[in-house]
């Protein structure tokens, strides 16, 4: 029998100390689980670079050393984006707004109406005692030590986060906006979101990540986030993730959702920020007739490095999934996309589609794509497609020949490229996204 040697990767010797203060947070049951996750983190080697999901990104970038972490003071009052969203709330575009400064200062705005309907929006630190039964049942179910080393790290060390519970039959008509501001240089934030949506209930959440270190010479900021969403039977959930962290931020995020019979889930990852980000989005279709759609949009510029993974896991039969992941890159930006559709043996009569389009706006960018299929039964309809290429010069020529300036023509084409995702976004947010795409194209 040939035994293979496992090369030790630099950084793999890093362990979470048994006296880490975070391990003492929460009630007894939570502390116990944190300790188990700590052990899982410590005993799991760093992801092997030979794995295709780690081929393009160095795991050391997300290994947060305790001694580099400082508590960062946040400015007083609200920053520009927070002000915009507070206005949106006043104007009645949102059903609620949560402003979260590094998990240390979490404020809730305009939630009165929701709480009258019995809808809970609170911090995880509150929820673990006040809604213990439901939190204990769902927390760590989807994102845990088995998901990966960094997920174990979050599980052991998360400082705080948001808990949302929509009881059976309740509808949150307007989007609920969560706005997380990461700390500055050398800060670390372990953040967690838990969302439980009851039977035949409906919810739209915008989960936004801003802030973070902006000057690489001063050091980087770390965010490690875990998002768990449960969609009960016949529920309807829309989840928008907007990632616009600053230029020296490192972000690791794992999102997992599980939907039951007849439920629908719409996931919209929008990625614009951070220096290095690795984001995983996964939906498990766990009941007959469940349907999941993902519309992604990524715009990279400067020296940004993006690494995204999507997963559609069909566990139940007669389930449907669709992914449309769009990537536009300029300057020296790099994007790696890997996406897996897995259909289990017992999941008959499933349909699954996946598309990844990459638009390369100039020389010097890099795009990698690995759309994967694992199909374990014959009764499926399944396909995927990927394209990588520049803007069609003929389209630019057509527009400019009609008097439209070159950069406007490019903007129009990129907007058209992004349209299928943009039209899924709630109105008030769409404006901000369209603006920021336009901004990034101004000098092209």
């Amino acid at each position: 029998m040939n035994k293979t040697s496992t090369k030790s990767t630099p950084g793999s010797e890093y362990l979470i100390d048994e006296f880490a203060p975070a391990l003492k947070r929460g009630p007894q049951w939570l502390r116990k689980r944190r300790r188990v996750l700590r052990q899982e983190f410590n005993s799991t080697p760093l992801p092997h670079r030979g794995l295709h999901t780690w081929r393009y990104t160095n795991p050391n970038k997300f290994l947060i050393k305790h001694d580099t972490v400082l508590d960062t003071a946040f400015g007083n009052g609200y920053n520009a984006v927070e002000k915009v969203e507070l206005t949106h709330l006043e104007q009645g575009h949102l059903s609620g707004l949560v402003t979260d400064h590094g998990g240390q200062e979490i404020k809730f705005h305009g939630l009165e109406e929701l709480s009258e309907k019995g809808i809970v929006v609170t911090t995880l630190s509150e929820a673990v005692s006040r809604h213990q039964e439901i939190v204990e049942r769902y927390l760590y179910q989807l994102v845990n030590g088995k998901t990966g080393k960094f997920e174990a790290m979050n599980g052991a060390l998360f400082n705080d986060g948001i808990f949302i519970h929509v009881p059976n039959g309740q509808t949150v008509e307007k989007p609920l906006h969560l706005l997380h501001e990461a700390g500055r240089e050398n800060s670390a934030h372990f953040h967690r979101v838990l969302i439980v949506v009851g039977k035949n209930a409906e919810l739209t959440v915008i989960d936004e990540y801003g802030g973070g270190a902006s000057d690489i010479d001063q050091g980087v900021s770390y965010t490690n986030s875990a998002v768990e969403i449960f969609g009960s039977e016949e529920s309807r959930v829309r989840y928008v993730l907007l990632q616009r962290q600053a230029a020296a931020a490192h972000l690791y995020l794992t999102h997992r959702a599980r939907i039951e019979r007849g439920a629908t889930m719409l996931t919209i990852p929008l990625s614009f920020g951070a220096s290095t980000s690795k984001q995983n989005f996964g939906v498990t279709l766990n009941g007959e007739g469940a349907e999941s759609k993902m519309y992604g949009l990524l715009f990279g510029s400067g020296h940004q490095h993006f690494d995204n993974h999507t997963l559609h896991h069909h566990v139940a039969g007669r389930t449907t999934s669709n992914i449309d992941f769009k990537v536009a890159l300029r300057d020296r930006a790099v994007s790696a996309y890997t996406g897996l559709i897995r259909i289990e043996k017992g999941a008959k009569a499933c349909e699954a589609y996946q598309e990844n389009r990459n638009l390369l706006l100039n020389k010097g960018v890099k795009a990698e794509t690995i759309p994967e299929l694992e199909i374990l039964n014959e009764d499926v309809k399944c396909s995927h497609g990927a394209t990588i290429g520049p803007i069609d010069p003929l389209s630019v020529f057509y527009l400019t020949s009609r008097g439209i300036p070159q950069n406007e023509a490019v903007q129009m084409i990129v907007s058209g490229f992004a349209e299928s995702t943009l039209k899924q976004i709630p109105e008030n947010l769409k404006e901000r996204i369209t603006d920021s795409v336009a901004q990034r194209l101004e000098d092209i």
Partner: protein
Amino acid sequence: MSDSAKQPNSDLTNLNSDYATKYGFRDPVDYFHKGAKGINHEVVEMISKLKKEPRWMTDRRHEALDMFFSKPIPQWGNTALLNEIDFQNIYYFVKPVEEMSKDWDDVPEYIKKTFDRLGIPEAEKKFLGGVSAQYESEVVYHSMRDDLKKQGVIFLSMDSGLHEQEEIVRKYFGTVVPPTDNKFAALNTAVWSGGSFIYVPPGLDVKIPLQAYFRINIENMGQFERTLIIADKGSRVHYIEGCTAPIYSTESLHAAVVEVIALEGAYIRYTTIQNWARNIFNLVTKRASAYRNATVEWIDGNIGSRLSMKYPCIQLMGEGAKAEVLSVAFAGIDQHQDAGAKVIHAAPNTSSRITSKSISKDNGRASYRGLVKIYKNAVNSKASVECDALLIGEEARSDTYPTMEIDNDQVKVEHEARVSKVAEEQLFYLTSRGLTEDEARLLIVNGFMEPFTKELPMEYAVELNRLIELEMEGTVG
């Protein structure tokens, strides 16, 4: 009813019984040289000495063996099966006869019978320009038509190639697949034996295919043939290889290295019909370099073996070079066909097309694994990848793992994949016209494979269709 949909004989109830009679028979073991099992530097030294090799080759073998020892088993793919390989329980060098024959009559009777049963001499007479037949570690029979010889075509066993064309071999050996490439390439470089050496002079069009046939006979055999093909400027050649082995209860290992070089304007087509017995690990590194305006085509059929990991690669090194890979896999009971293709675009105006077709039946698993890499300087390049998978049966599995790495914005890259079962409507249409469900299914599968079979020389296409027919037998459940 079309001929291709005719029912196979009812006594051929499954492939294994047929494989045993047609390919799976064993010969009595009576070898000129059979070393002990296991691998170490003494084995390498012994192989090189027996072959009376120049010192540089012996040194390379030793260096490669150290690389083999230091490299880990791949951490991806079917690692559970890969970890089953017991490298110390394998024969690394078995020499069936003392001297290679140029005349069929001189080949020992039992080997001759084997190749007769496999139909090799007949194929030679009918449609081949040259034949090489390898039995265990060495080529036992080799011949080429006189007219080709006169035109300057060199077609030798790799061992003869090293002795007769040492300079060319030394120049190109290990340049396309260096031993550092992977564990199995390192192992092959250390213990290689047999394989083909082909050189086609500039401008020559070799109109009839050259063929090699590889046969493993004993249990726990390791076959490590090494093939080097060089098509000089503006020449054309088509090389075909086939392979079979008896069925044993324990595994044998086939780890070949194939290096193909198409110089400016040359055209090389390399066709493989891999039909190893289902106890063979087939872990092969095949790679080609295509220079300016050259074309390389891999036509790769994987039907046999327990686990195949094979991703024929083409490096497009010169402007205007073209690559085409047509990969077909059939995964039946307990088989895992992990096949695919790689194309590296390293020059401007290069183009590539990969077409993969796979069928998974029973509990078989077919995986497409591929890479398209376009470097910064490879402007105006085009690449397309298309994967089609057909699943037959509840337990069948299909995976698609394509990788595309693009470092340049002046390119066009497309990938598409589809996975489906045999469509009910098609079955209904055919059965409503009087075909049995078995016949209808077979007809649909043959249609699915058609883009592949039409690229094969007639005799192979017929053979492949027959194999599929056997595989498809009794699929209605």
